[in-house]
């Protein structure tokens, strides 16, 4: 009777999987955001509190993530670390997106020589490895949150600029732009009224996709000792300070901060992926939205 069984609608399994991916991602992101927003003001514990009597305790009911080598509670430090890393990630992604949108919109909307000149500068800029450039920028300042934000923001606008420029070029060929020109719109008004609003969904998506990347960069810079000062909890500094204990067999100071880097960033990327599928018309018709 197997040949009489109704065939599954094509793409249905994939669609269900996507829906679940979206639900899980959204729940995780909401949970992490609530945690970093609510835990510090509500709990009122000091994440820097040293308790040398309780150093390097494995996970237990008192300390679910264990304690580090000076007896600080790792769960609390992970939440504070994620708070700093998310802040850095979001602000750096915003900086990169605003910069990239401005450059891409200018190149796409003005066209001609401006476009060629700007895009060659973008090519030159992207030929420099961005982690190296980021290290160079943070090295110019004292360690802290803002140099990391500036470093990640200033090195990650290139892809957004390319996306925005391409989108603007495709919008510029539409007849409604001709109609606006004929209606007397200045270049500035054309950009403000028709072109920029048209690229905002793409730019917004680029910004959200940038957040996990920015968090990884913050972690990488802090891990290298160039980002945040070591006493300040961030995901990168936590993993960095756990290096010494890992070889002694104490796995928890590395594992939990590591998970706090991986899980939230994958969840944000999952959300962004779902958004991208909504923007993609082919997908949209498939989803029947």
């Amino acid at each position: 009777m197997a040949d009489l069984a109704l065939p599954t609608a094509p793409g249905r399994v994939a669609r269900t999987a996507r829906t679940w991916k979206l639900r899980i991602s959204a729940t995780l992101v909401a949970g992490f955001v609530l945690a970093v927003l609510l835990v510090p003001p509500l709990v009122g514990l000091d994440e820097q509190a040293v308790d040398l009597g309780a150093k390097l305790l494995p996970p237990s009911l008192d300390h679910p993530f264990g304690t580090d080598d000076v007896g600080r509670d790792l769960l609390l430090r992970c939440v504070y670390g994620l708070r700093v890393s998310l802040l850095v990630g979001v602000v750096a992604a915003l900086v990169a997106t605003v910069l990239g949108t401005a450059v891409g919109a200018a190149a796409g909307a003005l066209g001609g020589w401006t476009d060629r000149l700007v895009m060659r500068c973008v090519d030159a800029f992207s030929s420099v490895p961005h982690l190296l450039l980021g290290i160079f920028i943070v090295a110019l300042f004292r360690p802290g949150v803002w140099p990391v934000v500036v470093s990640v923001g200033l090195t990650h606008w290139v892809s957004t600029a390319r996306i925005v420029r391409a989108e603007i070029l495709s919008l510029r060929a539409r007849p409604y732009i001709d109609a606006a020109v004929s209606g007397g719109a200045s270049r500035l008004r054309l950009a403000r009224r028709h072109l920029i609003p048209g690229v905002l969904p793409q730019a917004g998506l680029a910004a959200v996709l940038m957040i996990p990347h920015a968090i990884w960069h913050e972690s990488a810079l802090s891990f290298l000792g160039l980002g945040l000062p070591t006493h300040q909890a961030s995901l990168g500094t936590l993993v960095q300070s756990a290096r010494g204990t890992l070889l002694a067999g104490d796995w928890w100071p590395t594992l939990f901060p590591g998970l706090f880097i991986i899980v939230p960033t994958l969840a944000i990327a999952g959300l962004a992926g779902a958004w991208r599928e909504r923007l993609n018309p082919r997908r949209r018709s498939e989803l029947m939205l």
């Binding site: 895009m119 495709s170 109609a179 004929s182 007397g184 719109a185 009224r193």
Partner: protein, 237 residues
């Protein structure tokens, strides 16, 4: 008077779509331009409305040569033309409500005061009910959207109307209504009209004279079937 003098234009200098075309619109005259699809008549219409720079030749508006094309044209010359395109969906910014779509030229030319009232008034003359003005393009039909596009073209009271296959996507009754609106406007203002299309019966009845594309001195060799630049973005970087 609008004079298009020895215009050669296209999207690739080596293969122009419009070759050495001369066409004159007398004051208040309605000229129909008839030709098969892809022959370059839309390109000629865009050049005439100062929306596309020709490779050579001149456009002279009321004795004054066009001083540039697109944004290089002075605003007064650009807004002397009201342009209506073939596909209303492509000619309307999907984010604007119809009221804003129609009022946009007033706001763009620095006359925002009373723009909403003027837009409602113009919408009324093209037969667009005021209940539709709060909707966005995807919430109205092609015919309703084309009425809004016509209202947008008329709101600055242009001296020339360029209708590029304005009615190609519409049914007969909407076509008749829109042609009626254009004619009413022309009676009122004495504006001249360049109507491009491939429907001989319509153009013959609508216009004072109808010109065949092949009579325009354009050496059409069958190869120059370039589309307007929708797909022709500069090299992908």
């Amino acid at each position: 008077m609008l004079e298009l003098l020895s215009l050669t234009a296209g999207y690739d200098r080596r293969a122009p779509v419009v070759r050495d075309v001369t066409l004159t619109l007398a004051p208040g005259e309605a000229v129909g331009l008839l030709g098969p699809s892809g022959c370059g008549k839309s390109t000629l219409a865009r050049v005439a409305a100062l929306l596309h720079r020709p490779d050579s030749g001149r456009v002279v508006i009321d004795g004054e040569p066009a001083r540039g094309y697109r944004h290089r044209a002075p605003r007064a010359q650009r807004t002397a033309f009201g342009v209506v395109f073939q596909q209303p969906r492509q000619s309307a910014d999907p984010r604007l409500r119809l009221a804003d779509l129609i009022a946009e030229p007033l706001r763009a030319t620095g006359r925002p005061e009373g723009a909403a009232d003027k837009a409602a008034e113009t919408a009324d003359t093209v037969g667009l009910g005021s209940d539709l003005l709060g909707r966005r393009p995807h919430e109205v039909s092609d015919g309703q959207l084309q009425r809004a596009c016509l209202a947008r073209a008329l709101i600055l009271r242009p001296r020339y109307l360029v209708c590029d296959e304005m009615t190609a996507m519409l049914d007969a009754s909407t076509t008749a209504a829109l042609v009626g609106v254009v004619e009413e406007y022309r009676r009122e203002t004495g504006a001249a009209l360049l109507a491009v299309g491939h429907d001989r019966v319509l153009l013959d009845r609508w216009c004072d004279r109808t010109v065949e594309w092949s009579e325009l001195g354009s050496r059409h060799d069958g190869l120059a079937t370039a589309k307007p630049p929708a797909e022709q973005s500069p090299s992908v970087r």
